[in-house]
Structures are given as C-alpha cells and as structure tokens.
C-alpha cells in the first residue's frame, strides 16, 4: 500500500483555501443520532417478549388431579424445562420432536431396541431415565457429532441450569403420557410442602383437601342440588338411593363426566369441572359413600365386595380419573 501511496500520493500541496464549511458538527451529530434512532426503531418494531426467570409455584395438592398435574407438566415442558428449545418439529429441531410423537409408543420401541443399554422396563421409567441420563440411549442421528450416537447433547434436566425436581419430572412425564391419550402412570405428589400449609390462610388460596366423604360433599356443594345425607333438593336426582341405580363406575362417571348420561326428567346442569377440582381421594370417598348407600348396607356380602372394590379403585384411581 505504502509504495503506491508514496508514488501517487498527489496532494494539491499548495495552501489553497477552501470555502468555509458551516454546520459540520450539527450535520454530523444529526446524521449520527438519526442513524442511531433507526436502529432503535428496528428494535422496537420487533416482537416484544420478556424472558422471565422461573418463579416458584406452590402446588395445591388439595386440588391436584392427574389432568392438572399433566397441565403443570406441559407448563414445565414449555417453560422451566426449556425442552422446546431443542425438541421442535423438523427442520427446526435439534432433538427428536417428542411433542409430535407418541412418547409411550416410542418408548416401547426403544426399550426393545438392541442399542438400548438402560434399566427401564416401562415407558414411564424410560422417559425419566432419558431426562436424567440422556446418553443411556441416543436416538439415531441425534448424538453429538463424532460420537456415533453414543453421547447425547441433552443436558441432565435434574442438574443445573434446568434443575427439575422429582415432582416436576413426574409432571413432565404425566404431560407426555397424557397428550396422546395414554394413561398417566406417575404417582401424584402426596406430601404437602410446608409453604402450602400456610397458603390458604395466608393468601386466601384453594381450600385444603377434605378428610371425609361428608366433608367432600359439603366442600363441593352436592347437597345444593341433590337430596343426600338428610338434605333435600329437587334440582337434581336424589343420591340417597343411587347405589340401587348405578354401580361404582357409573357413579364415578356421573361425577367426572355428568353429561355422559342425563337422568330422565332432569336438566344438564351439573358442573363439569370436578375432574379438575376434585382430588383422587375426595372422589374415591364420595364414590365409596354413594355406592354404599344405607339401602344396601344390611347386605354383608355386598359390603365386603364394595370394600374390596374400593381398595382396587384406590390403587388404580389415577388411571380411572385419567380416563
């Protein structure tokens, strides 16, 4: 550069004066500030979204149902879990599109794959394992480059920076199971956190779960429409003798999906959100009470049968409520 500049650096070396330049500073400032404002405008025209840090959320165990647990899992999947950063539909995804696929079905295929080296035997265990030890089974073509699909780029979700707790991972599993109509097999959290105990009084939040069938019936206002436990109301069919008309499963269905069968002579007025509001224990207690109505209580065989059925129902309650 320099040689040619030296050779041809032909400046007009005389001290020839130029016409006075006016307002250079103003023009330069105006141009510079104007250009800056153009960039500012572009930034302000784009979608304005704030990225909130994860906020602690108190779960009301009293109002927790499998569906609401799955809904919580969906929130975690989209939010704190940051799953959707990578798990997107092709061609954008950097990981399998698990939202677009039935994970329970896929899990069964992968468990049968000879490349699978893990210890899971069920879809639930497989999903959990893939979250906390992602490299145990890497889906073909999704491994870290050069690792021959033996190392997954996915972070362990129970470690920093994601730090999902056991309950949160279960919620995500519930979501992945529920979104494709599969049974929710994970256990709902049962221990009430300390903060939660203070919540109703302190914050006016949801009431505590009912401890008995009578309490649950009172909590959900069943007696406002139905004749039950000594109360009388003509709005809905009486429930004092419901055990004569319906079996356990039908009673449960009437609570969770009241529009499925409408009793003759009555309007379709019953609330449809008990599936979301009612806890599994509350539902079981109410069903137990109604299925064992006084009219049948003298039949000892029947009582035993109900009792054993209740146990079975409790064991499989999550599944039933999910259905």
């Amino acid at each position: 550069m320099s040689q040619e500049v030296k050779k041809h650096h032909q400046t007009e070396t005389d001290q020839q004066a130029l016409p006075p330049s006016s307002g250079v500073l103003t023009k330069v400032l105006g141009f510079s500030v104007g250009l800056t404002l153009v960039f500012t405008l572009v930034a302000n025209l784009l979608p304005q979204v704030e990225g909130e840090a994860p906020v602690d959320e108190v779960i009301d165990l009293g109002a927790l149902t499998p569906e609401s647990f799955a809904a919580l899992g969906e929130k975690l999947f989209m939010g704190k879990g940051t799953c959707t950063l990578c798990h997107k539909p092709p061609p954008l995804g950097r990981a399998p599109d698990i939202q677009g696929e039935n994970m329970v079905g896929l899990a069964e295929q992968r468990l049968a794959d000879e490349r699978y080296q893990g210890e899971a035997e069920t879809a639930e265990a497989y999903i959990l394992e893939s979250m906390i030890e992602p490299s145990i089974y890497v889906v073909k073509d999704w491994g870290v480059a050069g690792s021959d699909d033996t190392v997954s780029p996915m972070p362990k979700v129970n470690a920093a920076p994601i730090e999902l707790t056991e309950v949160e991972m279960n919620a995500v599993i519930a979501y992945l199971q529920h979104k494709d109509g599969n049974d929710i097999t994970v256990e709902l959290p049962t221990e009430t956190p300390a903060v939660e105990e203070q919540a109703p009084g302190a914050t006016g939040g949801a009431p505590l779960p009912a401890q008995s069938a009578e309490e649950a019936i009172k909590k959900y206002g069943c007696q406002a429409c139905h004749s039950l436990l000594g109360s009388s109301s003509p709005v809905g069919p009486t429930l004092d003798d419901v055990a004569r008309r319906l079996d356990r499963q039908q009673i449960q269905q009437s609570i969770l999906d009241p529009a499925a069968v409408i009793s003759e002579g009555f309007a379709n007025m019953m609330p449809t959100d008990f599936a979301e509001k009612m806890t599994v224990n509350e539902l079981n207690m109410i069903v137990d009470l109604l299925a064992a109505s006084p009219a049948d209580s003298t039949d000892s065989d029947s009582t035993e049968a109900d009792s054993s059925e209740t146990t079975t129902a409790t064991e499989t309650s999550n599944e039933e409520v999910a259905q």
Partner: protein
C-alpha cells in the same frame, strides 16, 4: 582515605553526581518497595525464618555442661481442611436497592467502559503497524498519522480508567455478594490485572510522549519496542479481563456448587475463553479503525485548506481500510465462538440463536448490513480519486444489487409479525416462500456473499489506479474470475444442500465450508493481485477528490459498530438468563429476567449516544491542543 574519596567525588561533574543520586534514589525506592511486597505477600515465610534465627542465638550453653535432651513435641493432630465454599445462594432481599434498576446502572457503566477500553486497546495495535510502515518506507506521513491517532487515544485512556472505576464501584455497591464470590474465585489474578494496568499506563505515556524524542535511527526502534510492550500489556489485560466474563458464562475450575477445585489456570481457561479473546481482539481493531475514521471524516469536512482535506482523506481511507480489513474475518471468529457455545451447552446456544434472543439477530443483520453497505459505498465513492476507476464503474450497480438482495434475505425473519387474520390468510406464521429465507442457511449464504462482494469492491478499488504489465495478466485475471464464480456457486450449494436437505446438526458444518470458501477468495485475491501488479503502470490518484457525502459513510461505520458491540455484548451476557455464573450462582435479583428487545434497544441507544458525545469531546480536546491563541494586538505592536 575519606578525604581522598571526598576529593574524588568533588571531581565528578555536577550532572554525573545528579545521575548517581537519581540511581541511588531509585535503588532505595526499589528496596523499600521490595520489602513492602515481601511483608505483604510472603509474610509467613519471612516470619518463620526470623523465628528460627532468634531461637538459635538464644541457645547458649556453658562449657562442659551436657547437651540438653531435645524436646520432643508431640505431633498435634491438624484440623481437617475446611470444606470448599460454594457460591452464595442469594435471596431477593440480599440485593441492595438504590432506587433504580441495578442492572441498568451496571449495564451503562460496563458498556461505556468497554467501548473506551476497546478503543484504547485497539488503536496502539494498528498505530504500531503504521509506525513500522513509516520506518520501512521512510515516509514521515505515516509516522505523523500514527502520532495523530495516538493523540486521540490519550484522552480516551483517561476516560477509560474513570469509567472502569465507576463500573467497579457500581458492581461492588449493587452486587456485593457476586463480586465477593468472583474475588474469591479469581483471587490474586485481579492484582495481576491491576499490575498490568499500571504497566500499560506507563508504557502508553512513554510511547506517546517520547514520539518526537525517539524519532530517528536506532532510537526509533527503541520507540517501536516500547509500542510493542504497550500492546503486549494491553492485549494481556484484555485476555485477563475476558476470563471473568467467560467464567460467568461457562465456569471451569469449580464444582457444581461453585466451590473452587482447580488452580487459577483451570479457572481462566474455560471453554469460551479463547474464542472470546480472538473475537474481541479482532472486533476491537475494527472498532478502533472506525472511530479514527470518523475523526478523519470530521476533520475532512471541516478542513480549511486543500492540503488538509487531502491529508484527512488519506487518513480516513486508511482508517476505513483497517476497520473493514479487521471486520471481514470477524464473522468467522463469531462462528467459532457460537460453535464453542453450542459445544459447551446446546441449550445456551439455542437460547441465543433460536430462543428469546433470536430476534436480536435481525437487528444484528440490519447493523452489519449498514456496515457493509457503508464500507462499500465509501470504496465506490473513493474510486473517483482516479480516472482509472472508469474501467470498473459498470460493475458497481451489480455489486450493489447483490448486496441489497443479500441484506434483504438476512433481515427476513423466520416468523412473521402478523395479525390473527393475516395468519389465517397465510395459513400459518411462516410464509411459504419467505419462510425458508428466514432460517440460518439462507442467512449464511447471504452473509458470505456480502463478504465476497465487499472484497470484490475493495479489489476493484485497489486495481483502479493500476494497469498490469506482466505477460501473464490475462491468465491471472481469468483465474480470479473462475475463483469468484466457483466460490459463489459453492457458497450457495453448501447453504442450500446442507441447510435444507440434511439433518439440522449438519447446518453448522456447512457454514464452515462457506467460511473457508470466502477466506479462499480473499487470500487468493490478495496473492493474485500481488503478482498481477508487479511493475504495474500507475494512473494518478488525487487525495481529497471525493464527495463530502462519502465522508458520512465514515460516521455510519462507528455508529453501527458501537450499536453492534452493545447488541452483541448484551446477547453474550443474556445467554446466562437467570444466572450470575451459569449453573453455579443464580440471579435472584429483581432484574433477573431477559428484558424485551425494545428495552434493550433503548439501552443500546443511550450508551451509543453517550459514547458519541464523549468521542466528540475527545475530538474537540485533540484539536484544542493544536489551537493557538494569537497574540493580542497591543503586544504585537509592541514587539514590532
């Protein structure tokens, strides 16, 4: 004897005595400082050795008396070493409140400090090269220009230090626990930083103020050596400070709780340290070149004589040359940095490129597009300096068309901003035609083509005042055309094939191929032109013969660079999301959210305008030193 010595002392010339006293004074100061350092830093070792010496003197025995039995001191069971202390877990109430957003205060302080620091670290780098060119070609104009660049830097250096103090105080005031943790991790390394700062200050002042005293002969080489020392200190300062930010992004040398488990080298050398070092080093040069280019542009526009105009035209061209030359490899350093971020944490990479921060890359495209368009426009306008440029004038419109088309592809968002009705009409938020242009493969094609065509503009500019005379000129020209055609085809093919017809994970790999292609074009262009224009006939070029309008490109560059630095610094910092130190120390402050793009953009504008104001102040100070008040008329008459 003493008398004799005194006599000999009296014989010493006065100057030599003065020098002797000076040396003694320095020696005394050095010894004093050494003992101070010994006491401060190696106090325990020193104390032990003193204790042993005192004990040995105290053991006095009488002759004939038996030696006392040695006292056996039972070994005291040492206490177990304390467990390593992890990073503090802060609650919201742990953060001091000052009535304003702490993050905004630190944001402004940090960004202003970084702007000036980048400038004062970069300018001496290319000043040293310009000074060396001046020596090699025995051309004083280079030396004068280098000196003038340094003059601007001197005021900026003081402001850098002031802003550094402001930043440090802000951090210790507003985030004391974070700073306590960082000090605990980096420990004595921060004192090394302080020491380097002293060294850099000393070398900077010596370098600038000895410019005329060490101007010719061997002394000039001494001056260059001081300049080299200045740049070594400055660059080391940069990489030492970089370790702090890369530790916060990708901590190393600590366990999952943040407790220090490695040595200082393991802490410094995290996975992102070298990529950031390279990226900042190159970006600083581009930034520094752009700022001094603006200085030259300002002086050009306000020049009062033709000579001044020619001088500042040349200065502006050189500064622009430096800025664009440093800018061209910058995207490749950026690729490396992002690839390392993805390798460290795919989640972090996607947060930047595909998550909440992704929209910021549209703004980045606007900024880089502005830089490339302004840089190209300046080159095209500069071709008017020589009549030889007419041979290439017809190509400019095609280059402009390619640049604009690529720019439009680059700013095309993947997800369009639409109303509900528009989404319904479109059948989704992704337009069938424009949607594919919104993703990275299309943008990689666009940016590489923009770089290739910018290099073409530069090559045409350089060829404008030359006529090749070598016999193989036609062959070399044809070879250059073939290289361009093949390179353009390869950039498009790699982007389309790997970007749209293979798995997502191969996209980054394809960009490496594109980058390599662009680099091949640049390297082969320089080599071919070197051979092509050996003993070339030169067409006269007149410095100063450019339009005033062209000088505004020299202002567009630093404005866009400044905004771009603010933007990318924000992205780099925000990928940590709600972590002070990623995965180790959570940010639970009221400002732990990623703000909206509009808010961030407003912050960037505030810092850019503040910086612009301070830079104008520096320009004013630099010209103030050249201004001389004329003698009062009465005094002139008296002297006459």
């Amino acid at each position: 004897m003493l008398h004799k010595r005194l006599n000999s002392l009296q014989l010493l010339p006065k100057m030599r005595l003065q020098k002797l006293l000076n040396i003694m004074l320095v020696a005394v100061l050095f010894l004093g400082a050494s003992s101070l350092v010994s006491n401060l830093f190696i106090g325990d070792v020193y104390a032990d050795s003193v204790a042993q010496r005192i004990q040995s003197v105290g053991s006095i025995l009488l002759e004939g008396e038996p030696q006392p039995e040695p006292v056996v001191v039972e070994a005291v069971e040492t206490e177990p070493a304390p467990a390593p202390q992890g990073a503090p877990k802060l609650k919201r109430e742990d953060y001091p409140r000052v009535g304003a957003s702490s993050r905004s205060v630190v944001w402004i302080a940090a960004q202003m400090h970084l702007f000036f620091a980048a400038f004062v670290l970069a300018v001496p780098l290319f000043v040293l090269v310009i000074e060396w060119i001046g020596i090699k070609y025995a051309d004083d104009r280079y030396d004068d220009m280098a000196h003038e660049f340094m003059k601007i830097t001197m005021t900026a250096y003081s402001i850098t230090a002031l802003l550094g103090g402001f930043l440090a105080f802000s951090l210790f005031l507003l985030y004391p626990q974070v700073m306590e943790y960082m000090m605990r991790v980096f420990n004595l390394q921060v004192l090394v930083y302080a020491g380097l700062f002293f060294a850099e200050s000393a070398l900077l002042y010596i370098y600038y103020y000895s410019w005329d005293a060490l101007r010719y002969g061997n002394k000039k080489w001494l001056h260059l050596t001081v300049g080299l020392g200045l740049n070594v200190a400055g660059t080391t300062l940069l990489v030492v400070a970089n370790a702090w930010v890369t530790f916060m992004m990708a901590p190393s040398g600590v366990d999952a709780t943040g407790a220090v488990v490695g040595n200082i080298w393991e802490i410094i050398k995290g996975p992102l340290w070298n990529p950031i070092n390279l990226h900042r080093f190159i970006a600083n040069i581009a930034f520094g070149g752009a700022i001094v280019g603006a200085y030259a542009g300002y002086k050009f526009l306000s020049a009062k004589t033709v000579e001044m105009r020619a001088h500042y035209d040349w200065m502006g061209y050189t500064a622009n040359f430096i800025a664009i030359l440093a800018f061209l490899p910058l995207p490749f350093a950026g690729y490396w940095l992002m690839a390392e971020i993805y390798a460290y944490s795919q989640q972090m990479g996607i947060t930047a490129m595909g998550g909440i921060l992704a929209w910021l890359f549209i703004v980045q495209a606007v900024l880089i597009g502005t830089i490339l368009l302004a840089g190209n426009y300046y080159l095209w306008a500069g071709m008017s300096r020589t009549e030889g440029s007419k041979r290439y004038a017809w190509m400019i419109k095609y280059i402009a068309m390619v640049l604009v088309a690529c720019f439009l592809v680059w700013v095309t968002p993947h997800t369009l901003i639409l109303s509900a009705d528009e989404i319904k009409q479109l059948g989704g938020s992704h337009h069938k035609l424009l949607g594919p242009l919104g993703i990275m493969p299309a943008k990689n094609i666009a940016v590489n083509l923009m770089l290739i065509f910018t290099f073409l503009s530069f090559q045409l500019y350089r060829r404008a005042d030359k006529i090749a005379t070598v016999p193989y000129a036609n062959f070399l020209n044809a070879l250059m055309v073939v290289i361009y055609v093949v390179a353009i085809a390869n950039v498009i093919f790699a982007g389309v094939y790997y970007g749209y017809f293979t798995n997502t994970v191969y996209k980054v790999g394809s960009s490496v191929m594109q980058v390599a292609t662009t680099l091949v074009v640049i390297a082969s262009g320089i080599i071919i032109d070197t051979f092509l224009f050996k003993k070339a006939d030169m067409i006269p070029a007149v410095w100063g013969r450019v339009s005033n309008r062209s000088q505004y490109a020299l202002f567009a560059l630093p404005i866009a660079f400044t905004w771009l630095m603010a933007l990318m610094g924000y992205v780099r910092s925000s990928v940590r999301t709600h972590w002070h130190v990623y995965t180790v120390m959570k940010d639970n402050s009221p400002d732990n959210f990623v703000p909206s793009i509009g808010y961030a953009g407003n912050m960037m504008t505030i810092v850019t305008i503040l910086f612009l104001g301070m830079v104008l102040f520096i320009f004013w100070i630099a010209s103030l030193s050249e201004t001389k008040q004329s003698k009062p008329l009465a005094q002139q008459e008296l002297e006459a």
